[in-house]
């Protein structure tokens, strides 16, 4: 479904990604784990069109989307839940969700998806008239995910959905990620919480200072000494 082919991405003179390649098949949950500053978010931003790769290509369903405008990529079915949620705090929950469906014109479909999102996140329904800035961290994460789902994506990019959340909430969020996936949405998940990420993922990539250093099925990586040492608390 998605194929990233040895891309190089720069911030000014600093190279953030060095020949990164990765593949996501339809229906999978693929996770990308790595330390702070390894280039995980950069990769997602490049896929969703916020950054342009200098070399290499990104293929989505066989077509190149590298360097295309972000709105074109959303239109083709890729939604990105950014790191830090980035909800519109000065607008209501409902308005945030409406913005998620910005490019859609099918009113009936949008209404259905509102219901789906409220079913998935009942808290959002309770707070739909509230300003998004007044939500708790977990609710904001749910809103950010719900907002992305309003575009009816086929591929969902999730950047650190567990960041700053209490352990119980992290579990809830991951259960919902699996639920979203079970409806047929393919997921590329970036996480620092490697334990949780590997527990839901089919396959995983490990990224270190801008390079993919390891990849394989989630079980393989879970068992790998290298990953245990670096990301799973090393016992």
């Amino acid at each position: 479904m998605l194929k990233v082919e040895s891309i190089d991405v720069f911030y000014g003179n600093i190279q953030a990604l060095k020949g990164v390649s990765l593949e996501v098949q339809e229906g999978e949950i693929v996770t990308l784990i790595g330390a702070n500053g390894a280039g995980k978010s950069t990769l997602l931003k490049t896929i969703s069109g916020l950054l342009k790769p200098k070399h290499g290509d990104i293929l989505y369903e066989g077509q190149s989307i590298a360097g295309k405008a972000a709105q074109m990529i959303v239109k083709q079915g890729i939604s990105h839940v950014p790191e830090g949620r980035r909800i519109f705090a000065n607008m209501t929950v409902e308005e945030n969700l409406e913005l998620g469906a910005f490019l859609r014109k099918d009113k009936d479909g949008i209404r259905q998806d509102f219901e789906k999102v409220y079913q998935l996140f009942p808290r959002l329904h309770e707070r739909r008239k509230q300003l998004a800035g007044t939500l708790s961290g977990g609710e904001q994460q749910m809103l950010a995910m719900g907002r992305a789902l309003m575009a009816r994506p086929r591929l969902l990019l999730l950047d650190e959905p567990s960041m700053g959340l209490a352990p119980l909430l992290v579990k809830t969020i991951f259960r919902i990620i699996e639920e979203i996936n079970s409806f047929g949405t393919t997921i590329l998940l970036v996480e620092q919480n490697a334990n949780m990420a590997l527990s839901v993922a089919d396959r995983a990539y490990v990224i270190e200072s801008g390079r993919v250093v390891l990849s394989g099925s989630a079980e393989e990586l879970n068992a790998s000494e290298q990953v245990k040492m670096a990301y799973l608390g090393g016992h």
Partner: protein, 292 residues
């Protein structure tokens, strides 16, 4: 009664400031730029209205509409040519460019049509005096006030109820997140310049009807005062610009009413200094620290 009379004058003048201030504040809200050419867009609006009335024999509302359309286009052209290439440049570069654009429009206008002033025809709107509780209000200033209020309500509807308005709010809050929603940031910024400039164009025509005399440098002082009004209300906040404009108009009228007409312009800038010292985020602003 004299005081109430001044108050009415102040509100009329203030509604003109408010219309111009809205453009300042909307543009600042979305691209963090003080568009110093905005006062000159107001001037162009006044001239378009004047020529529409005198040469094309249009009435008040068609002339107003034409001025708004021309100014909207002008605003978009200014943004695309002068500001868009500088979107990632330092703020000071954009600010200097804005001053350059301002001078270009002022002296470009003088080059094209000369520096001589023009007078709006006074017969355009019926000028009867209406007496309410001993206060005389001219029907003209009443109409002007109503026009401004209708435009401001229209703006609120656009910003809160339409898709482009929601896009504008999203981009001004977080343009990167807005892009992830599929919002075209460039088009949204253009729309913001178009709407803000259209309001300035309307203010130009209203100014011409109210004060008769227009000339190519007429945008400087009202432009600066509208800037003060925008800061007074809290720059980037739309209701703030409306209230700031009205408040500034009333303050000026009261100062004149107390017999210090010569201090009128000075007071506006004293207000600016005071607000910057005591409440830099403006009346409606929250103290938000800049994101690093």
């Amino acid at each position: 009664m004299e005081l109430i009379q001044q108050l009415v004058n102040g509100i009329s003048l203030g509604s003109i400031y408010a219309l111009i201030a809205l453009g300042y504040t909307m543009v600042y809200g979305i691209v963090r730029l003080i568009n110093f050419a905005h006062g000159d867009v107001f001037m162009v609006g006044a001239f378009v209205g004047f020529y529409a009335i005198t040469s094309l024999n249009l009435g008040f509302f068609p002339a107003l509409l034409l001025a708004m359309v021309v100014c909207a286009l002008l605003g978009v052209i200014i943004e695309r040519i002068a500001y868009k290439p500088l979107r990632n440049a330092t703020r000071i570069a954009a600010l200097i460019t804005a001053i350059g654009v301002s001078l270009f429009i002022e002296y470009g206008t003088i080059y094209v049509r000369g520096a001589q002033p023009e007078a709006y025809p006074s017969t355009l709107l019926p000028d009867k005096s209406i007496e309410v509780f001993g206060v005389t209000i001219s029907s003209q200033s009443l109409l002007i006030l109503c026009t401004s209020i209708v435009l401001m309500i229209l703006l609120q509807l656009i910003v809160h109820k339409t898709k482009i308005g929601k896009a504008m709010r999203a981009v001004s809050y977080d343009s990167e997140a807005a892009r992830l929603m599929g919002i075209n940031v460039d088009n949204t910024i253009s729309a913001t310049f178009a709407i803000g400039s259209a309001l300035a164009g309307a203010a130009g025509v209203i100014f011409g009807i109210y004060y008769i005399k227009i000339e190519p440098l007429m945008g400087i002082i009202p432009g600066l005062k509208a800037f003060v009004a925008a800061v007074l209300g809290g720059i980037g906040i739309i209701p703030g610009a409306m209230v700031g404009g009205l408040a500034l108009g009333v303050i000026e009228a009261l100062v004149s009413g107390l017999g210090y007409s010569l201090w009128r312009d000075g007071v506006a800038f004293i207000v600016l200094i005071l607000i910057l010292i005591f409440r830099p985020s403006g009346l409606f602003g929250k103290n938000v620290r800049e994101k690093v």
